[in-house]
Each structure stands twice: as C-alpha cells, then as structure tokens.
C-alpha cells in the first residue's frame, strides 16, 4: 500500500479507510509541519496547528476536487489554519517578539538561530523553512507553495541574507 499514489489513497480514505489516510499522514505530515513552522515561526504552535491540519484534512476530504492534488490541498489547509491562528493575535509581529522572548524553542545551541529564523518576515521564512525540510530542493518547494522556481530561489536567497544579518548584528537583542 506504501507504493500507492496519493490519488488512490485519497479515494480509499474517502470511503473511510483510516489506514489509507495514515499513509497520507506519513507521506505529507513533514511538509505540513514545515509550512506551519514557516508561517508561525514557533515550534509549539506549529506542532498543534500541523496536527489539526492533518485531522481537518481527514474530515474535509470530500471537499478535495482532484484527488491527485492532495499535497497542495493539505498545505493550503495548514496555511489557512496558521493565518486564522495569527489573525486571532493582536499582531503577528508582537506575537513573534513575545514568543521569542518567552523561549518558544527548545533547541539548545540553536537558540539564537531559532530566534533569528522566527524574526524573518513570513513571506521569506516559509520558503526557507520548507527548503531545509525538503532536502534543499527549491523546485519541489516551489511546486508545494505554488510559486515559480525563480521566486522560490529569490525568497530563499533573501531569507539567507537577512538571516546572516540578524545573526551577525545582534539578532538576540529581543
């Protein structure tokens, strides 16, 4: 069953086959989580929202028009959940600053790096996070995020430069 396409697994899942959907979870959860982390910039919230997104995908599977587009569909669900989550906050900027100050990460030596990543603007943080989650395959993340390859590369480049600036110019000052 592991070799089955997303399309077949989606159809089976629609008939209530939980084992088929479990395979979709194993196949796509990593990217759903990466999107949540990329949008939210916070590990704990990304964990919660990513799980919610996968379960919402199960319940709402009937709304997926094209079974072979599950990968993009589930990422959109995750992204929308993140946006809704952020909308409930006073402002994303204040939210990130607060979370960073409270230590939303448990990454030991990576603490400064985590905070710097969290401080990147969402538009460039998301492709950056996806890039490192997806074996540095810019073409693959461009498809997942439904942007052009050149746009993906440009955003990753901008993110890397800003990250460098944050890490070298006192990123951990709050």
């Amino acid at each position: 069953m592991n070799d089955f396409s997303d399309e077949i697994l989606v159809e089976a899942s629609r008939r209530g086959d939980r084992s088929a959907y479990a395979l979709l979870v194993k196949r796509h959860f990593r990217y759903v989580y990466a999107v949540c982390l990329g949008v939210l910039g916070n590990v704990h919230d990304a964990e919660d929202i990513a799980q919610d997104a996968m379960l919402k995908g199960w319940v709402k599977l009937s709304r997926l028009d094209k079974s072979d587009r599950y990968d993009k569909w589930i990422l959109r669900i995750a992204k929308n959940l993140c946006v809704d989550f952020l909308r409930r906050k006073k402002s994303a900027r204040a939210f990130f600053a607060e979370k960073a100050a409270l230590g939303g990460y448990k990454c030991g030596d990576n603490y400064d790096l985590a905070r710097a990543v969290a401080r990147l603007p969402q538009e460039i943080r998301l492709p950056l996070v996806m890039y490192y989650f997806d074996n540095k395959d810019a073409k693959a993340i461009a498809e997942k995020l439904e942007i052009s390859h050149s746009t993906a590369c440009q955003r990753i480049r901008t993110a890397r430069k800003q990250l460098h600036r944050l890490l070298t110019e006192g990123a951990d000052d709050g």
């Binding site: 194993k26 990593r30 989580y33 964990e47 319940v59 599977l61 990576n110 990250l163 070298t168």
Partner: protein, 132 residues
C-alpha cells in the same frame, strides 16, 4: 571591497544554499578565490548553512512523535464528512423523489378515477337511452 563585491555577495547566498544557476557558479567561485573579504563572507554563510541544516534536522524526531499523535487521533476521529454529506444528499434527493412520486401517483389515481367515472356515466346514459 571591490566594485564587483556587492553583486557577488548577492549571489554567494545562492551559491552556499545551493540555488545558484550552474552557469554562474564559476564566475562567483573565481571571485571568491581572488577576494579575501568575500571569501570570509562566504565562509561565514557556509557556517550558517551547516547550522541551519543541523537545526532543521533536529526536528526529525519530533516529527515522528507528532505523526504518531496524529495517527492516534485519527483512530478516534469521525469518518470523513463526505459519508454523511452523501447520506444527507441521498436523503434530500430521496425526499424530492418521494414528493414527486407521490404527486405522480395521486395524478394517476385521479385520472383513472375520472376515466372510470366518465365510462360509468357514459354506460348509464346509454342504458337510459336504450330503455327509452
């Protein structure tokens, strides 16, 4: 820093992260071989690259744990809504069909009633005419 350095540094981030086009690689690497400041910049980015790669690798064990949590939740989750929506759809369609079917049946009964009644009246009239 040479005049070329600004534009080169723009591309160094791409070189290090692996998104630079193949054709531009040689030019950037050539400049880095000649320019110590840009090379130092590239070395720093390379260090950060390794930090980033290591940083995101730390999420792997967490992802497995989270996947397991999703699968556990999935076991107790309700079936996809489609099953219910289909059932609902069928109910709606069924109800519509039932309404139309009932109307059609009533129409048939009424029609048959009138045909039979007219037939009887016709026969009665015929009998009266013959008896006269």
């Amino acid at each position: 820093m040479g005049s070329d350095c600004d534009s080169i540094r723009d591309r160094v981030a791409e070189l290090i992260s692996g998104t630079l086009k193949e054709g531009e690689r040689a030019h950037i690497q050539g400049h880095l071989a000649e320019c110590p400041k840009c090379r130092a910049y590239a070395d720093r980015l390379e260090e950060e690259e390794q930090m980033l790669t290591g940083f995101f690798a730390t999420f792997d064990s967490g992802i497995s744990r989270l996947e397991t949590a999703v699968l556990n939740a999935l076991a107790g989750a309700e079936a996809p809504v489609r099953d219910r929506s289909i059932a609902l759809g069928r109910n709606v369609i069924g109800a519509a069909l039932a309404r139309h079917g009932l109307a059609a049946a009533v129409l048939v009964v009424v029609t048959v009633y009138f045909v039979i009644t007219l037939s009887w009246i016709s026969q009665i009239n015929e009998c009266i005419r013959l008896s006269m």
